[in-house]
Symmetry: C2
Subunit: 430 residues, 2 copies
């Protein structure tokens, strides 16, 4: 799956001898989003989105350490391209989410260019089938919204747009690490005392027993392997989640405290509450070794791009896990998720995430017709939410979306063309 | 070991209520080295060195994501400080070697301040014993030096300075990844055909059979788990290394391809060639799980600072592994290594690395009296190599070295005082 499949388009691609001839980046003024335009030696343009957050650093690392190795490389083989970049000079001493976010933009742009050369969508390149609409779950990414307002919004998404699955935030972000050693029953446990239970009660009542309800804790809870209650505290949280019929418990602990996850799964047993995670896991060697999680949720940006996501999907299948990549923002990452979801031929990926609860923090907006827009709006509006499914009407080959020239020329958007001499002068290799 | 020990100095420290009140960074003009000056609320100054390479990015990440969480924190508990920083805002989505390098400078500065408050060296703080001279092994970090020139230099280090252990480079950097799928017997195998054997022959002849000889391949070889020769190629390399009496084989494969390391150790068996690695491993969860290596070699900068190194020393003891932290450059990292080596009470750490072969690439120089200088020269010259031991005459408490004010004021050295408002404006947290 990590390279193009067996169809005619894939065969066309294997004969393509073009190389990477130009690279230009575009950063949003708020530092949240950055895009890459890749130009091939035969004039095809591919677009990719880098991993989000602090993108000025991602773009700098891209120009300094990724672009010099990408220039001149064959476009048709994304996996070989990543090896070429990690093996370039001393890049192997630079691993981390920042380098992965830089690789992600390149990888996505390469897939876009490949689709454009083969004159099909990336989905068709992967599986020789057209892109299809795909079920979403609606998630709230705020802990500030009042429980009843959140419940009302989720009921509206159910009634108006047919959404059948919902995710809410539990606990207080990263408190498991920050309050280590403190009594977990103290007020530190939650954003405000009783919030998690109040949210679950209100949302479950609003959406009814037939909808799927999930919970994301962002590392809120102390590790049951080491906490002062011998795990009884987290047992209590799990019991409450089960009472509200929660279908998975995402990131209960600091994401890479895998001992804690292993411990919880051992406590819960085979019929226990499924545990989800992996959004922040950027190391392919760690994914390859398998994670103590029931649901794998790699992020398109942090994990290094669509090629990594496709490889992690294989690991999920190997390990018998559900696979729900992280792509909530309504930006290009959710477009990538749609292609990957359509291309996977088995039910391991059953829903993709869309953070579509408008609570002031959320960047995704859905009008009464189901048209999805995200801020910043980097494409037209080809995404539609209908009957609980997200649908993309392809505007072009590749990822099927055209980058909006209005956004590219907007005030404050920084563009930067790769300059080999400048990049070399900035690398310190001893 | 990761916190101060049981002596009187440690007791003094536990009563210290000062917090972090000021942070200022200093970058060398060539981007290779950066230092941190930490000022406590009661006026003590602690100095620390960040992880090396591309330090402009490390310093930017420090100011943006580490310093805001460090300001106001208690100085006396380095471990709690790291948790506070990783749990700050969305820093847990920023893990990688860059963040670890930024944490390393802070951690080292905190230990320096703690020693200065307790009026002793860090070594004394850790184990209530004074700093002692410690055996080094001399390593060459170049693949360009002619084998006979390298052998002559190593013989001189043996005769003049009593060095009894030597490490040389094998193969071609990162070729295991870059040439994946190619025939490993092709010329790609080595820097130039036959170089590795020529170096081993010349150096073994020059230093005699009684000296320890080690090899570092920087990921030169293909994984025996997946290569086209079913591992026969790497078996041949190991056979050659054994013939020259090599005592360990460092980083034969891409450093985080742990499957390859596991495979090699399985092939070699219990009496086989010991395998070393871990220099680039910056993830404490991965260290905690244990690595398929006979010798653990964490880097003071990449692993997150002296506190991480002390914790990894505990993992090495738990796992029954040798422990040889990476600190070749003759800068503050080798000073930290001396304190840690003196503080560890068992023979798991038997030698520290010093890249003291002057081959044009190396930054460490040793004059005929054994005085060690490194470029850039950020301290006076308190380090001496004598009878194969590196000795530090402490100039002050803490790490025992004063930062040279001449270096701090040198042309091109960039200093930057932490500015909370600027840092906040640069973080993009959605």
């Amino acid at each position: 799956m990590a390279t193009a499949g067996a169809g005619a388009a894939a065969a066309t691609l294997r004969a393509w001898g073009a190389h990477v001839a130009g690279l230009e980046t575009f950063e949003s003024p708020d530092g949240k989003i950055a895009l890459l335009k890749l130009t091939t030696s035969d004039g095809i343009e591919g677009w990719g989105q880098f991993g989000n957050k602090d993108v000025d650093l991602t773009v700098e690392i891209f120009h300094r350490r990724v672009a010099p190795a990408a220039m001149g490389a064959l476009v048709r083989d994304p996996a070989a391209l990543v090896e070429r970049i990690v093996g370039f000079e001393l890049n192997y001493k630079q691993l981390g989410v920042q380098l992965s976010k830089a690789l992600a933009g390149l990888d996505a742009a390469v897939w876009d260019a490949c689709g454009k050369f083969a004159q099909c969508t990336v989905c068709e390149l992967l599986c020789a089938r057209p892109l299809s609409a795909f079920p979403v779950y609606a998630s709230s990414i705020s802990r500030k919204i009042a429980p009843q307002d959140l419940a009302d919004e989720m009921a509206r998404l159910k009634q108006t747009h047919g959404v059948r699955a919902f995710k809410v935030k539990a606990g207080k972000r990263m408190q498991g690490l920050l309050a280590r050693g403190q009594d977990p029953k103290s007020k530190q446990e939650d954003q405000w005392p009783g919030r998690t239970a109040a949210v679950l009660r209100a949302v479950r009542e609003a959406v009814g027993p037939e909808c799927e309800l999930m919970v994301d804790a962002n590392g809120a809870y102390p590790s049951p392997a080491t906490d002062s209650t011998d795990g009884a505290f987290v047992d209590g949280v799990c019991k409450m989640l089960r009472e509200y019929g929660v279908s998975f418990f995402e990131e209960p602990f600091f994401w890479c405290d895998y001992d804690a996850y292993r411990h919880l799964r051992d406590r819960e047993g085979r019929a226990g509450l499924p545990v989800a995670g992996g959004e922040q896991e950027f190391r392919m060697d760690v994914w390859r070794a398998g994670l103590p999680l029931d649901i794998y949720q790699p992020d398109f940006g942090y994990a290094g791009g669509p090629s990594s996501i496709l490889q992690i999907a294989q690991f999920a299948r190997r390990d018998g896990r559900r696979f729900v990549p992280h792509s909530p923002q309504g930006d290009l990452h959710v477009v990538y998720a749609l292609h990957v979801a359509s291309a996977l031929s088995d039910p391991q990926l059953d829903r993709i995430e869309l953070a579509c609860v408008d609570d002031g923090l959320c960047q995704v907006f859905i009008d009464t017709n189901g048209t999805v827009t995200s801020m910043p709006q980097i494409t037209g509006t080809p995404l539609r939410l209908k009957h609980g499914h997200l649908d993309l009407e392809p505007q072009c080959h590749g990822w099927g979306v055209e980058i909006d020239p209005v956004w590219l020329r907007a005030d404050g958007v920084k563009s930067r063309v790769f300059d080999a001499k400048e990049a070399t002068s900035k690398r310190s290799n001893l």
